[in-house]
Protein backbone atom coordinates (compact mmCIF):
# COMPACT_ATOMS: atom_id res chain seq x y z
CA UNK A 1 0.00 0.00 0.00
CA UNK A 2 1.47 3.32 -0.79
CA UNK A 3 0.80 6.85 -0.01
CA UNK A 4 1.05 9.18 -2.87
CA UNK A 5 1.06 12.89 -3.43
CA UNK A 6 0.69 15.24 -6.28
CA UNK A 7 3.41 17.26 -7.63
CA UNK A 8 2.80 20.27 -9.71
CA UNK A 9 4.45 20.02 -13.03
CA UNK A 10 6.32 23.03 -13.94
CA UNK A 11 6.47 23.71 -17.53
CA UNK A 12 9.69 24.91 -18.76
CA UNK A 13 9.70 27.44 -21.47
CA UNK A 14 12.48 28.94 -23.24
CA UNK A 15 12.85 32.66 -22.90
CA UNK A 16 15.35 34.54 -24.75
CA UNK A 17 16.03 36.73 -21.68
CA UNK A 18 17.16 35.56 -18.27
CA UNK A 19 14.70 37.91 -16.57
CA UNK A 20 11.76 36.30 -18.24
CA UNK A 21 12.97 32.91 -17.22
CA UNK A 22 13.35 34.03 -13.66
CA UNK A 23 9.84 35.51 -13.59
CA UNK A 24 8.30 32.26 -14.69
CA UNK A 25 10.20 30.32 -12.11
CA UNK A 26 9.07 32.61 -9.33
CA UNK A 27 5.43 32.45 -10.41
CA UNK A 28 5.53 28.70 -10.62
CA UNK A 29 7.01 28.45 -7.17
CA UNK A 30 4.33 30.66 -5.69
CA UNK A 31 1.57 28.57 -7.23
CA UNK A 32 3.05 25.28 -6.07
CA UNK A 33 3.50 26.36 -2.46
CA UNK A 34 -0.04 27.69 -2.22
CA UNK A 35 -1.63 24.51 -3.55
CA UNK A 36 0.37 22.16 -1.34
CA UNK A 37 -0.43 24.18 1.81
CA UNK A 38 -4.14 23.96 1.13
CA UNK A 39 -4.08 20.18 0.75
CA UNK A 40 -1.95 19.69 3.83
CA UNK A 41 -4.32 21.70 5.97
CA UNK A 42 -7.20 19.47 4.89
CA UNK A 43 -5.39 16.33 6.02
CA UNK A 44 -4.35 18.01 9.23
CA UNK A 45 -7.91 19.12 9.94
CA UNK A 46 -9.22 15.59 9.66
CA UNK A 47 -6.30 14.09 11.50
CA UNK A 48 -7.06 16.46 14.32
CA UNK A 49 -10.36 14.66 14.84
CA UNK A 50 -8.57 11.43 15.64
CA UNK A 51 -7.37 10.46 19.04
CA UNK A 52 -3.66 10.02 19.15
CA UNK A 53 -2.39 6.67 20.43
CA UNK A 54 -1.12 8.42 23.54
CA UNK A 55 -4.56 9.67 24.55
CA UNK A 56 -6.36 6.38 24.02
CA UNK A 57 -6.80 4.20 27.10
CA UNK A 58 -4.16 1.48 27.37
CA UNK A 59 -5.17 -1.81 25.85
CA UNK A 60 -5.84 -4.56 28.35
CA UNK A 61 -4.79 -8.12 27.84
CA UNK A 62 -8.31 -8.86 26.69
CA UNK A 63 -8.70 -5.64 24.69
CA UNK A 64 -11.22 -5.82 21.98
CA UNK A 65 -9.62 -5.94 18.59
CA UNK A 66 -12.83 -4.89 16.88
CA UNK A 67 -14.40 -1.45 16.94
CA UNK A 68 -17.81 -1.02 18.43
CA UNK A 69 -20.98 -0.38 16.48
CA UNK A 70 -19.56 -1.10 13.12
CA UNK A 71 -21.45 -1.94 10.00
CA UNK A 72 -19.87 -4.70 8.04
CA UNK A 73 -20.08 -4.42 4.31
CA UNK A 74 -17.69 -6.04 1.99
CA UNK A 75 -17.11 -5.37 -1.63
CA UNK A 76 -15.08 -7.69 -3.77
CA UNK A 77 -11.65 -6.23 -4.33
CA UNK A 78 -10.88 -6.10 -7.99
CA UNK A 79 -8.54 -4.10 -10.17
CA UNK A 80 -11.16 -4.06 -12.85
CA UNK A 81 -13.84 -2.69 -10.63
CA UNK A 82 -14.72 0.93 -11.20
CA UNK A 83 -13.36 3.11 -8.45
CA UNK A 84 -15.87 4.48 -6.02
CA UNK A 85 -16.59 8.10 -6.81
CA UNK A 86 -14.91 10.75 -4.74
CA UNK A 87 -17.21 12.49 -2.28
CA UNK A 88 -18.97 15.63 -3.25
CA UNK A 89 -16.76 18.65 -2.96
CA UNK A 90 -13.54 16.81 -3.65
CA UNK A 91 -11.38 18.86 -5.98
CA UNK A 92 -11.11 17.32 -9.37
CA UNK A 93 -7.39 17.07 -9.35
CA UNK A 94 -7.51 14.58 -6.47
CA UNK A 95 -7.50 10.89 -7.43
CA UNK A 96 -10.63 8.76 -7.11
CA UNK A 97 -10.96 6.34 -4.23
CA UNK A 98 -9.13 3.13 -5.04
CA UNK A 99 -11.04 0.11 -6.21
CA UNK A 100 -11.92 -2.29 -3.45
CA UNK A 101 -12.18 0.23 -0.68
CA UNK A 102 -15.36 -0.10 1.29
CA UNK A 103 -17.59 1.72 3.65
CA UNK A 104 -16.93 0.61 7.16
CA UNK A 105 -18.01 3.01 9.84
CA UNK A 106 -16.54 2.33 13.24
CA UNK A 107 -17.37 4.48 16.20
CA UNK A 108 -13.80 4.12 17.39
CA UNK A 109 -10.52 3.22 15.82
CA UNK A 110 -9.62 -0.35 16.82
CA UNK A 111 -7.39 -0.68 19.84
CA UNK A 112 -3.76 -0.92 18.93
CA UNK A 113 -4.15 0.68 15.50
CA UNK A 114 -1.85 3.63 14.78
CA UNK A 115 -1.70 6.23 12.05
CA UNK A 116 0.86 5.49 9.35
CA UNK A 117 3.63 8.03 8.70
CA UNK A 118 3.28 10.54 5.87
CA UNK A 119 -0.49 10.57 6.28
CA UNK A 120 -0.50 14.21 5.41
CA UNK A 121 0.55 13.31 1.89
CA UNK A 122 -2.64 11.41 1.32
CA UNK A 123 -5.42 13.69 0.13
CA UNK A 124 -8.29 11.26 0.11
CA UNK A 125 -7.48 9.29 3.23
CA UNK A 126 -4.74 7.87 5.32
CA UNK A 127 -3.19 4.55 6.20
CA UNK A 128 -3.66 2.87 9.54
CA UNK A 129 -1.42 0.15 10.89
CA UNK A 130 -3.03 -2.57 12.98
CA UNK A 131 -1.52 -4.40 15.92
CA UNK A 132 -0.04 -6.93 13.52
CA UNK A 133 1.75 -4.22 11.51
CA UNK A 134 -0.58 -4.63 8.56
CA UNK A 135 -1.49 -1.45 6.74
CA UNK A 136 -5.13 -0.64 6.13
CA UNK A 137 -6.07 1.98 3.60
CA UNK A 138 -8.69 4.35 4.87
CA UNK A 139 -10.52 7.17 3.25
CA UNK A 140 -12.00 10.34 4.56
CA UNK A 141 -15.53 11.43 4.28
CA UNK A 142 -16.13 15.08 3.70
CA UNK A 143 -17.62 16.88 6.62
CA UNK A 144 -17.29 13.99 9.03
CA UNK A 145 -13.75 12.87 9.35
CA UNK A 146 -14.90 9.27 9.77
CA UNK A 147 -12.27 6.66 9.21
CA UNK A 148 -13.21 4.05 6.67
CA UNK A 149 -10.71 1.22 6.79
CA UNK A 150 -10.54 -1.32 4.06
CA UNK A 151 -12.48 -4.46 4.67
CA UNK A 152 -10.39 -7.16 6.24
CA UNK A 153 -11.58 -10.76 6.61
CA UNK A 154 -9.14 -11.09 9.49
CA UNK A 155 -10.88 -8.35 11.41
CA UNK A 156 -13.11 -9.81 14.10
CA UNK A 157 -16.81 -9.49 13.44
CA UNK A 158 -17.62 -6.16 15.05
CA UNK A 159 -20.32 -5.48 17.58
CA UNK A 160 -23.77 -4.85 16.21
CA UNK A 161 -27.32 -4.57 17.35
CA UNK A 162 -28.51 -7.66 19.20
CA UNK A 163 -30.49 -10.20 17.25
CA UNK A 164 -33.04 -12.75 18.34
CA UNK A 165 -32.31 -16.46 18.39
CA UNK A 166 -33.95 -16.93 15.01
CA UNK A 167 -30.72 -15.53 13.54
CA UNK A 168 -29.32 -18.99 14.27
CA UNK A 169 -32.20 -20.94 12.77
CA UNK A 170 -30.08 -21.82 9.72
CA UNK A 171 -26.96 -22.48 11.77
CA UNK A 172 -25.03 -25.47 12.96
CA UNK A 173 -22.47 -25.42 15.75
CA UNK A 174 -19.66 -27.96 15.72
CA UNK A 175 -16.68 -28.47 17.97
CA UNK A 176 -15.08 -29.67 21.14
CA UNK A 177 -15.91 -29.83 24.85
CA UNK A 178 -16.29 -26.06 25.07
CA UNK A 179 -18.77 -26.23 22.21
CA UNK A 180 -20.48 -29.03 24.10
CA UNK A 181 -20.72 -26.80 27.14
CA UNK A 182 -22.28 -24.18 24.91
CA UNK A 183 -24.72 -26.79 23.66
CA UNK A 184 -25.63 -27.82 27.19
CA UNK A 185 -25.80 -24.47 28.95
CA UNK A 186 -25.98 -21.45 26.62
CA UNK A 187 -29.71 -21.78 26.12
CA UNK A 188 -29.64 -21.65 22.32
CA UNK A 189 -32.76 -23.38 21.04
CA UNK A 190 -32.79 -22.69 17.32
CA UNK A 191 -29.61 -24.23 15.97
CA UNK A 192 -28.32 -27.74 15.44
CA UNK A 193 -25.29 -28.53 17.56
CA UNK A 194 -22.79 -31.37 17.28
CA UNK A 195 -20.04 -31.14 19.87
CA UNK A 196 -18.11 -33.65 21.89
CA UNK A 197 -15.08 -33.58 24.13
CA UNK A 198 -11.75 -34.59 22.61
CA UNK A 199 -12.67 -33.31 19.15
CA UNK A 200 -9.91 -31.63 17.15
CA UNK A 201 -9.41 -30.36 13.62
CA UNK A 202 -7.88 -33.75 12.96
CA UNK A 203 -10.66 -36.09 14.06
CA UNK A 204 -13.83 -34.06 13.62
CA UNK A 205 -14.47 -35.89 10.38
CA UNK A 206 -13.40 -39.34 11.49
CA UNK A 207 -14.29 -39.88 15.15
CA UNK A 208 -17.71 -41.50 15.23
CA UNK A 209 -19.32 -39.79 18.19
CA UNK A 210 -22.76 -38.65 17.10
CA UNK A 211 -25.69 -41.03 17.23
CA UNK A 212 -27.34 -41.50 13.88
CA UNK A 213 -30.92 -42.39 13.13
CA UNK A 214 -30.14 -46.10 12.85
CA UNK A 215 -28.69 -46.56 16.29
CA UNK A 216 -25.09 -46.35 15.18
CA UNK A 217 -22.53 -43.58 15.39
CA UNK A 218 -21.27 -41.14 12.77
CA UNK A 219 -18.74 -38.32 12.77
CA UNK A 220 -19.61 -34.70 13.45
CA UNK A 221 -19.04 -33.77 9.81
CA UNK A 222 -21.25 -36.61 8.62
CA UNK A 223 -23.96 -35.51 11.02
CA UNK A 224 -23.68 -31.94 9.78
CA UNK A 225 -23.69 -32.98 6.13
CA UNK A 226 -27.21 -34.41 6.43
CA UNK A 227 -28.56 -30.90 6.09
CA UNK A 228 -27.72 -27.65 4.30
CA UNK A 229 -27.01 -24.71 6.56
CA UNK A 230 -26.62 -20.98 6.10
CA UNK A 231 -24.11 -20.59 8.91
CA UNK A 232 -21.50 -22.92 10.36
CA UNK A 233 -20.00 -21.97 13.71
CA UNK A 234 -16.78 -23.77 14.57
CA UNK A 235 -15.16 -23.99 17.99
CA UNK A 236 -11.85 -25.84 17.97
CA UNK A 237 -8.37 -25.37 19.30
CA UNK A 238 -8.18 -26.08 23.02
CA UNK A 239 -7.28 -29.72 22.49
CA UNK A 240 -4.71 -28.75 19.87
CA UNK A 241 -2.67 -26.68 22.31
CA UNK A 242 -0.79 -29.83 23.19
CA UNK A 243 0.03 -30.52 19.56
CA UNK A 244 3.29 -30.27 17.73
CA UNK A 245 2.86 -26.67 16.70
CA UNK A 246 0.85 -23.86 15.21
CA UNK A 247 1.80 -24.69 11.64
CA UNK A 248 0.17 -28.09 11.89
CA UNK A 249 -2.89 -26.51 13.46
CA UNK A 250 -3.11 -24.00 10.61
CA UNK A 251 -2.73 -26.65 7.93
CA UNK A 252 -5.28 -29.03 9.39
CA UNK A 253 -7.78 -26.29 10.16
CA UNK A 254 -7.40 -24.94 6.64
CA UNK A 255 -8.17 -28.39 5.23
CA UNK A 256 -11.22 -28.58 7.46
CA UNK A 257 -12.48 -25.22 6.20
CA UNK A 258 -12.07 -26.40 2.62
CA UNK A 259 -14.08 -29.49 3.49
CA UNK A 260 -16.77 -27.43 5.18
CA UNK A 261 -17.10 -25.37 2.01
CA UNK A 262 -17.63 -28.54 0.02
CA UNK A 263 -20.18 -29.90 2.45
CA UNK A 264 -21.97 -26.60 2.98
CA UNK A 265 -21.41 -24.51 -0.15
CA UNK A 266 -24.06 -21.98 0.75
CA UNK A 267 -22.94 -21.37 4.31
CA UNK A 268 -21.00 -18.55 5.88
CA UNK A 269 -18.31 -20.01 8.08
CA UNK A 270 -17.64 -18.52 11.49
CA UNK A 271 -14.39 -19.40 13.24
CA UNK A 272 -14.70 -18.81 16.95
CA UNK A 273 -11.57 -17.89 18.82
CA UNK A 274 -10.49 -19.97 21.74
CA UNK A 275 -11.72 -18.92 25.16
CA UNK A 276 -9.47 -17.89 28.05
CA UNK A 277 -8.28 -19.99 30.97
CA UNK A 278 -8.06 -18.81 34.56
CA UNK A 279 -4.99 -16.98 35.78
CA UNK A 280 -4.14 -19.90 38.03
CA UNK A 281 -4.27 -22.37 35.16
CA UNK A 282 -2.30 -20.01 32.96
CA UNK A 283 0.41 -19.64 35.58
CA UNK A 284 0.72 -23.29 36.48
CA UNK A 285 0.25 -25.03 33.15
CA UNK A 286 2.81 -25.29 30.41
CA UNK A 287 0.16 -26.02 27.79
CA UNK A 288 -3.02 -24.16 28.71
CA UNK A 289 -1.79 -20.60 29.08
CA UNK A 290 -3.46 -17.44 27.87
CA UNK A 291 -0.33 -16.45 25.99
CA UNK A 292 -0.48 -19.64 23.96
CA UNK A 293 -4.19 -19.19 23.47
CA UNK A 294 -3.53 -15.73 22.03
CA UNK A 295 -0.94 -17.23 19.69
CA UNK A 296 -3.35 -19.87 18.47
CA UNK A 297 -6.13 -17.32 18.17
CA UNK A 298 -3.88 -15.36 15.86
CA UNK A 299 -3.62 -18.49 13.74
CA UNK A 300 -7.41 -18.75 13.67
CA UNK A 301 -7.68 -15.08 12.76
CA UNK A 302 -5.19 -15.55 9.94
CA UNK A 303 -7.15 -18.56 8.72
CA UNK A 304 -10.31 -16.49 8.65
CA UNK A 305 -8.51 -13.91 6.58
CA UNK A 306 -6.97 -16.41 4.20
CA UNK A 307 -10.13 -18.44 3.76
CA UNK A 308 -12.66 -15.58 3.82
CA UNK A 309 -14.35 -16.87 6.93
CA UNK A 310 -15.71 -14.70 9.72
CA UNK A 311 -13.64 -14.44 12.87
CA UNK A 312 -15.58 -14.25 16.12
CA UNK A 313 -13.45 -13.13 19.04
CA UNK A 314 -15.45 -14.95 21.73
CA UNK A 315 -12.42 -14.77 24.01
CA UNK A 316 -13.81 -11.41 25.02
CA UNK A 317 -17.15 -12.92 25.99
CA UNK A 318 -15.62 -14.84 28.88
CA UNK A 319 -12.49 -12.87 29.83
CA UNK A 320 -12.43 -10.57 32.82
CA UNK A 321 -10.55 -7.28 33.01
CA UNK A 322 -7.25 -9.13 33.42
CA UNK A 323 -7.79 -11.12 30.25
CA UNK A 324 -8.44 -14.40 32.05
CA UNK A 325 -11.37 -16.65 32.76
CA UNK A 326 -12.55 -15.33 36.13
CA UNK A 327 -11.29 -17.00 39.25
CA UNK A 328 -13.84 -19.43 40.65
CA UNK A 329 -15.56 -19.85 37.29
CA UNK A 330 -14.17 -23.30 36.55
CA UNK A 331 -13.11 -26.45 38.35
CA UNK A 332 -10.20 -27.14 36.01
CA UNK A 333 -9.40 -23.61 34.93
CA UNK A 334 -10.46 -24.29 31.35
CA UNK A 335 -14.14 -25.26 31.23
CA UNK A 336 -16.42 -22.57 32.61
CA UNK A 337 -19.31 -23.48 34.84
CA UNK A 338 -22.73 -23.54 33.28
CA UNK A 339 -23.69 -19.99 34.28
CA UNK A 340 -21.01 -18.48 32.01
CA UNK A 341 -22.29 -19.84 28.74
CA UNK A 342 -25.26 -17.50 28.32
CA UNK A 343 -22.86 -14.55 28.02
CA UNK A 344 -21.15 -16.38 25.18
CA UNK A 345 -24.50 -16.64 23.43
CA UNK A 346 -25.12 -12.96 24.08
CA UNK A 347 -21.79 -12.21 22.42
CA UNK A 348 -22.83 -14.15 19.34
CA UNK A 349 -26.14 -12.34 19.26
CA UNK A 350 -24.36 -9.00 19.30
CA UNK A 351 -21.65 -9.84 16.76
CA UNK A 352 -23.52 -10.84 13.68
CA UNK A 353 -23.08 -10.72 9.95
CA UNK A 354 -26.19 -9.85 8.03
CA UNK A 355 -24.77 -8.95 4.64
CA UNK A 356 -21.79 -10.29 2.81
CA UNK A 357 -20.97 -9.48 -0.79
CA UNK A 358 -18.45 -11.39 -2.72
Amino acid sequence: MSVFSHQKKVKRRRWPAAAGMLLVLVLGLILWIGWDAGAGSHAAAVAGQLESPETRPPASAASKSAPAEAVLLRLAASDEEDPAPAPEGTPERLPPYPAGSVDYVPSARPDGWTVAPKADLCFWGMDLIDAGAKIHRCRFRTGGGQLLPDYDWGLPVPESEAVEQDYFSDAVFIGNSLAQGFMLYAGLKTADQYAVQSITVNNIGSEKVIRDDNGGFISILDAMARKQYGKVFVMLGINELSWAGKDTFYTKYAELIDLLRELEPGAEIFLQSMTPVTAKESETSTVFTNDRIHEYNEVIRQLAEDKEAHYLYVFDALADDTGCLPAGSSSDGIHPYSNYYPQWLTYLQTHTVTEVKR
Binding site: L184, Q197, S198, N239, S331, D332, Y337
Partner: protein, 158 residues
Protein backbone atom coordinates in the same frame (compact mmCIF):
# COMPACT_ATOMS: atom_id res chain seq x y z
CA UNK B 1 -35.01 -92.43 65.73
CA UNK B 2 -36.66 -89.97 68.08
CA UNK B 3 -33.60 -87.79 67.97
CA UNK B 4 -33.68 -87.85 64.19
CA UNK B 5 -37.35 -86.85 64.14
CA UNK B 6 -36.63 -84.06 66.58
CA UNK B 7 -33.69 -82.79 64.53
CA UNK B 8 -35.57 -82.90 61.24
CA UNK B 9 -37.51 -79.64 61.68
CA UNK B 10 -34.32 -77.91 62.72
CA UNK B 11 -32.57 -79.24 59.67
CA UNK B 12 -35.43 -78.15 57.44
CA UNK B 13 -35.37 -74.68 58.98
CA UNK B 14 -31.63 -74.37 58.39
CA UNK B 15 -32.09 -75.56 54.82
CA UNK B 16 -34.73 -72.92 54.16
CA UNK B 17 -32.52 -70.17 55.50
CA UNK B 18 -29.61 -71.26 53.34
CA UNK B 19 -31.74 -71.19 50.23
CA UNK B 20 -33.23 -67.78 51.02
CA UNK B 21 -32.36 -64.68 48.94
CA UNK B 22 -29.33 -62.73 50.10
CA UNK B 23 -30.88 -59.35 49.33
CA UNK B 24 -33.46 -58.13 51.75
CA UNK B 25 -37.03 -58.06 50.48
CA UNK B 26 -38.17 -54.96 48.52
CA UNK B 27 -40.37 -53.84 51.35
CA UNK B 28 -37.27 -52.87 53.29
CA UNK B 29 -36.13 -50.41 50.64
CA UNK B 30 -37.25 -46.81 50.91
CA UNK B 31 -39.74 -45.50 48.41
CA UNK B 32 -38.00 -44.18 45.34
CA UNK B 33 -38.08 -40.35 45.39
CA UNK B 34 -38.82 -38.15 42.41
CA UNK B 35 -35.91 -37.83 39.96
CA UNK B 36 -34.97 -34.30 41.04
CA UNK B 37 -35.07 -35.26 44.71
CA UNK B 38 -32.91 -38.31 44.12
CA UNK B 39 -30.38 -36.27 42.16
CA UNK B 40 -30.35 -33.60 44.84
CA UNK B 41 -29.74 -36.18 47.53
CA UNK B 42 -26.91 -37.68 45.54
CA UNK B 43 -25.28 -34.31 44.97
CA UNK B 44 -25.66 -33.32 48.62
CA UNK B 45 -23.73 -36.43 49.59
CA UNK B 46 -20.55 -34.93 48.14
CA UNK B 47 -20.07 -37.81 45.74
CA UNK B 48 -19.24 -35.56 42.77
CA UNK B 49 -16.24 -33.40 41.92
CA UNK B 50 -18.38 -30.42 40.98
CA UNK B 51 -21.99 -29.40 40.85
CA UNK B 52 -23.86 -31.25 38.14
CA UNK B 53 -26.36 -29.12 36.30
CA UNK B 54 -29.82 -30.14 35.17
CA UNK B 55 -30.03 -29.83 31.40
CA UNK B 56 -32.86 -29.74 28.94
CA UNK B 57 -34.32 -33.12 28.10
CA UNK B 58 -33.77 -32.70 24.37
CA UNK B 59 -30.04 -32.27 24.89
CA UNK B 60 -29.91 -35.22 27.27
CA UNK B 61 -31.87 -37.35 24.84
CA UNK B 62 -29.47 -36.36 22.06
CA UNK B 63 -26.51 -37.54 24.12
CA UNK B 64 -28.21 -40.74 25.30
CA UNK B 65 -29.91 -41.71 22.06
CA UNK B 66 -33.36 -41.56 23.64
CA UNK B 67 -36.60 -39.77 22.99
CA UNK B 68 -38.66 -38.09 25.63
CA UNK B 69 -41.46 -40.63 25.36
CA UNK B 70 -39.06 -43.36 26.52
CA UNK B 71 -39.04 -41.79 29.98
CA UNK B 72 -41.20 -38.67 30.22
CA UNK B 73 -39.93 -37.84 33.71
CA UNK B 74 -36.29 -38.17 32.68
CA UNK B 75 -33.69 -35.92 34.26
CA UNK B 76 -30.07 -35.41 33.14
CA UNK B 77 -27.30 -33.75 35.12
CA UNK B 78 -23.97 -32.96 33.48
CA UNK B 79 -20.70 -31.37 34.54
CA UNK B 80 -18.87 -28.42 33.03
CA UNK B 81 -16.91 -30.85 30.88
CA UNK B 82 -13.95 -30.86 33.21
CA UNK B 83 -14.94 -34.21 34.75
CA UNK B 84 -16.84 -37.32 33.72
CA UNK B 85 -19.30 -37.08 36.62
CA UNK B 86 -22.89 -37.44 35.53
CA UNK B 87 -26.35 -38.44 36.72
CA UNK B 88 -29.30 -39.66 34.69
CA UNK B 89 -32.59 -40.65 36.32
CA UNK B 90 -34.84 -42.36 33.82
CA UNK B 91 -38.30 -43.60 34.91
CA UNK B 92 -39.25 -45.61 31.84
CA UNK B 93 -42.67 -45.62 30.28
CA UNK B 94 -42.90 -49.37 29.73
CA UNK B 95 -40.87 -52.57 29.42
CA UNK B 96 -39.77 -51.84 25.87
CA UNK B 97 -38.50 -48.43 26.93
CA UNK B 98 -36.78 -50.01 29.90
CA UNK B 99 -34.86 -52.34 27.63
CA UNK B 100 -33.90 -49.49 25.30
CA UNK B 101 -32.87 -47.18 28.14
CA UNK B 102 -30.73 -49.83 29.78
CA UNK B 103 -28.99 -50.53 26.52
CA UNK B 104 -28.40 -46.85 25.72
CA UNK B 105 -27.00 -46.20 29.18
CA UNK B 106 -24.41 -48.87 28.53
CA UNK B 107 -23.65 -47.33 25.15
CA UNK B 108 -23.31 -43.91 26.74
CA UNK B 109 -20.73 -45.23 29.18
CA UNK B 110 -18.82 -46.98 26.41
CA UNK B 111 -18.64 -43.79 24.36
CA UNK B 112 -17.64 -41.66 27.34
CA UNK B 113 -14.89 -44.13 28.20
CA UNK B 114 -13.65 -44.03 24.62
CA UNK B 115 -13.60 -40.23 24.59
CA UNK B 116 -12.11 -39.69 28.02
CA UNK B 117 -9.35 -42.19 27.32
CA UNK B 118 -7.93 -39.58 24.96
CA UNK B 119 -9.39 -36.43 26.49
CA UNK B 120 -8.73 -36.93 30.22
CA UNK B 121 -7.45 -40.43 31.02
CA UNK B 122 -7.53 -39.76 34.76
CA UNK B 123 -11.34 -39.77 34.54
CA UNK B 124 -11.58 -43.25 33.00
CA UNK B 125 -11.57 -45.17 36.32
CA UNK B 126 -14.74 -43.34 37.30
CA UNK B 127 -16.41 -44.50 34.13
CA UNK B 128 -15.26 -48.05 34.65
CA UNK B 129 -16.94 -48.08 38.06
CA UNK B 130 -20.07 -46.33 36.85
CA UNK B 131 -23.37 -47.51 38.30
CA UNK B 132 -26.43 -48.40 36.24
CA UNK B 133 -29.13 -49.42 38.69
CA UNK B 134 -32.70 -50.43 38.10
CA UNK B 135 -35.71 -50.60 40.34
CA UNK B 136 -39.03 -51.47 38.76
CA UNK B 137 -39.00 -49.40 35.58
CA UNK B 138 -36.61 -46.70 36.81
CA UNK B 139 -33.01 -46.72 35.67
CA UNK B 140 -30.34 -44.56 37.27
CA UNK B 141 -26.92 -43.96 35.74
CA UNK B 142 -24.34 -42.52 38.08
CA UNK B 143 -20.72 -41.61 37.34
CA UNK B 144 -19.24 -40.31 40.56
CA UNK B 145 -15.93 -39.26 42.05
CA UNK B 146 -16.69 -40.94 45.38
CA UNK B 147 -18.69 -44.10 44.92
CA UNK B 148 -18.86 -44.83 48.63
CA UNK B 149 -20.87 -41.70 49.17
CA UNK B 150 -22.98 -42.36 46.11
CA UNK B 151 -23.68 -45.89 47.28
CA UNK B 152 -24.80 -44.67 50.71
CA UNK B 153 -27.62 -42.88 48.97
CA UNK B 154 -28.42 -45.31 46.20
CA UNK B 155 -28.40 -48.39 48.42
CA UNK B 156 -31.38 -46.94 50.28
CA UNK B 157 -33.46 -47.23 47.16
CA UNK B 158 -31.91 -49.89 44.93
Amino acid sequence: MKKLLLCLPVLLLLLLCACGEKTPPAASKAELPAPEALAAELQASGAFAEELVLTENDVGCFLYGLVESDAPEMRYYFSSGAVADEIAVLPCADDAALEKVTSECATRLDLQTQLFTVYKPEEVPKLEKALVLQRDKTVVLCVATDYEKAREILDKYF
